[in-house]
Amino acid sequence: MLSRTAENLFWLARYVERAEYIARTIDATLRVTALPAAYIGKTNEWESALLTAGVSQSFYETYDEANEHNVVEYLSFNPANPSSIKNCVEQARLNSRSVRTALTSEMWDTINGAWIELQEVWTKGTTSREQLARFLRFVQETSLRFDGSAYRTMLRNDAYWFSRLGLHLERADNTARILDVKYHVLLPEEEHVGGPLDFYQWSSILRSVSALTAYHWVYRETLKPWLIADLLILNDTLPRSLASCYGNLVRNLDQIGVAYGRQGPAQRHARGIRNRLEHSHMDDIFQRGVHEFIQEFIADNARLGEIIAKQYLI
């Protein structure tokens, strides 16, 4: 297929995934900030929302204070924020238009339909919490519909695999970013602090990757920070864990390799990261430092994006 088409499919999936992730982040933050201060401590949750979205720096070029109003506006609607939900949706539609021939009508319908639906939100904004919640839910549902229609209607060929690569690369990045911002509340030494304060932090992390219920099914335990870290990093049954994302990335890259009859640096690099995740134990990771581990992962993951681009997309 055309390199440009593959690139558009890759980024289309990334933007849709990112829009969903930002919506989840806002959702989880609204929830935790609605609690009385005694339950969440003095941390500014809106500040961490900006950090997990990776846009804290650019935010302060426009705003002075990270409060609900400003952060919601910046993350949802601000055109100056390249990762705002609005920009993600606009970019996703633009990418869809460029590769209409590679999309099924169901996928196009989802993106174009959402884009039409959201025009009103863009012009009027959301004036109440209820409207905001409806908007965030709509964005998440759009992502689910898009993902579902891709899964159910696309031919299983390179177009599908490139779109999946975008999805899993973005997803791995998102999960890693939450861990990067919140790692300090997951450190085992802080176990003794325990108490309600951390409990709500922990459940908020799980909620932002929709893994709160999954946690209980996997561990049949009350919330324990090291288990949360284990779930998000190493447990390959959780679709948003780093291990699961890399299982998928390796599989999709292998499928491309088989179809094209040759492997390359992208396959090798992805397999390297996957193997490291497979052979790691949480104890070792804690020992070596969660923060360092995550930072290294984020850099490695970004590097895979560059390698894929160089090998296939340019």
Partner: protein, 472 residues
């Protein structure tokens, strides 16, 4: 201006045969139902994303072309005449182009003045003496046809460069079939859905000799911001070919390749929807970022077919148009089946004098204009506009032609105040491959939605209708 010929309600007020079933159906159908279907159609169009962009209109970057749910109907007999006439016309256009860029018999015979060719900006000296694969220049032609009475079909304009609109012909039919299944059951309508197949076959048949047995065809678009982008992606999809932009292509050793995820892949035929000027920055506009450096040299080497060929603009130029009846006679030794609109060439002093004296009654067009821009419709214009045009005409007479204001035929159309006659034209699409010319029975009917308006261009508030050719 005379009362226009209505295609449903004939001159005596009798319903014309082709419309009898439709007319009955319209009487049975409550007006509400039509309005409801109309809204439904609009929703479908928006959902599918059949939009177009209007240049210089930032407010509505993507607009819908209004769709009228009342079909326009032609009888089998009418179509037979039209089809013959169109094939004849396109054959002549192709012979004319081959002649202009080679022997120039028609100039030596004194039928067309030399300077009209050589001083014409759409004439491409790069094409002099260059053979094009299988000697086909215009693979896809869109011939704009109008009627003023029940007898004649008149060519208003030849489009031999990158005619657009065929996606509307196909989508209008799909939507009509979805909205009015019962109405379809009551007619026998020739299908149009073969068009993509016919187009692909035509394109593959003209692959250069150096191509493999399975030539690779690609559709080249200027990109998502082009006004006809929807159509480009639609056709690429229907044809099952790659939709490429200039940056996807690269020329190596006079061969054209596209960049794919598996490396470079040779392209043999490019159905290009990019104007000549933007094809190759090395030959034409150096500032163009849409084109492919070296494309023209691969073309000269005979390794790529461009459809349509480069330089076809000289055949559909409005100044050349007036010579078309003579062109047909010269190459085919036949009487033209389709008429021309009588045309005054303002470059000729006698014609100019007449035009200046009769501006109130005439339509004046720029020789190189298109899309309904820059034209004067005398009977509808204000005094000031006419005077401004008079100055322009005197300053640069060779830039204009003039024609009588035709009472274009009308068809019943849905309006705010119920059914009313509106002026229409018709653009059938004529495909020419290596050995044959084909036309899918139908075309794009454009309708001027404003009462009394004669301008059907979508950029000027025109709409479209499904066009039915009855199969008797």
């Amino acid at each position: 201006m005379a009362v226009a010929f209505d295609e449903m309600n004939g001159p005596g007020g009798d319903i014309r045969a082709a419309y009898s079933e439709l007319s009955r159906w319209l009487k049975e159908t409550p007006p509400d139902a039509l309005q409801y279907r109309r809204q439904e159609a609009e929703l479908l169009f928006r959902r599918i994303g059949i939009t177009f962009a209007v240049y210089g209109d930032s407010e509505a970057q993507e607009r819908l072309i209004p769709f009228d749910v009342i079909p326009r109907i032609l009888s089998a007999r009418e179509w037979t005449i039209l089809e013959k006439g169109l094939k004849q016309r396109v054959r002549a256009l192709n012979m004319f182009l081959s002649d202009i860029y080679h022997n120039r018999d028609i100039l030596r015979a004194g039928i067309i003045p030399d300077d009209l060719i050589f001083q014409n900006p759409v004439f491409r000296p790069e094409m002099n003496g260059q053979d094009v694969p299988h000697d086909v220049y215009v693979h896809i032609a869109g011939i704009d046809i109008v009627r003023v009475d029940a007898e004649d079909f008149i060519v208003l304009e030849d489009n031999a460069r990158t005619p657009s609109g065929v996606s509307y012909m196909l989508e209008n039919r799909e939507i009509m079939m979805r909205l009015f299944p019962d109405l379809f059951a009551r007619h026998r309508i020739a299908p149009v859905e073969r068009y993509p197949d016919e187009l692909l076959a035509a394109l593959r048949s003209v692959a250069p000799r150096s191509a493999s047995a399975e030539p690779t065809v690609a559709l080249m678009t200027p990109g998502v911001y082009n006004s006809a982008y929807y159509e480009h992606s639609f056709l690429a999809d229907k044809l099952g070919i790659e939709l490429v932009e200039g940056r996807d292509l690269i020329v190596k050793n006079d061969e054209v390749f596209m960049r794919t995820t598996e490396g470079l892949k040779r392209v043999d035929v490019i159905y290009r929807r990019v104007d000549d000027d933007f094809l190759d920055p090395l030959t034409f506009r150096p500032d163009s970022v849409l084109g492919v450096p070296g494309l023209m040299s691969a073309y000269a080497a005979g390794n790529i077919t461009l459809a349509n060929a480069v330089g076809t603009g000289i055949a559909d130029d409005k100044a050349i148009y007036s010579y078309m009846p003579d062109v047909v006679k010269f190459y085919l030794a036949e009487e033209p089946i389709l008429k021309n609109v009588p045309t005054w060439r303002c470059r000729e002093p006698k014609d100019l004098a007449y035009v200046l004296d009769n501006l109130d009654d005439l339509v004046v067009k720029e020789v190189h204009g298109s899309g309904g821009y820059g034209m004067l419709i005398g009977p509808a214009a204000t005094k000031a506009t006419i005077e401004a045009f008079r100055d322009k005409l005197k300053r640069e007479p060779e830039g204009f032609i003039a024609q009588p204001t035709l009472a274009l035929s009308t068809c019943p159309t849905c309006t705010e105040s119920g059914l009313a006659p509106r002026h229409v034209d018709l653009r059938p699409f004529v495909l020419t491959g290596r050995d044959r010319t084909t036309i899918v029975p139908g075309g794009l009917t454009r309708v001027a939605l404003k009462e009394g308006s004669l301008v059907v261009n979508s950029s000027q508030g025109g709409g479209t209708k499904d066009t039915w050719i009855l199969d008797e």
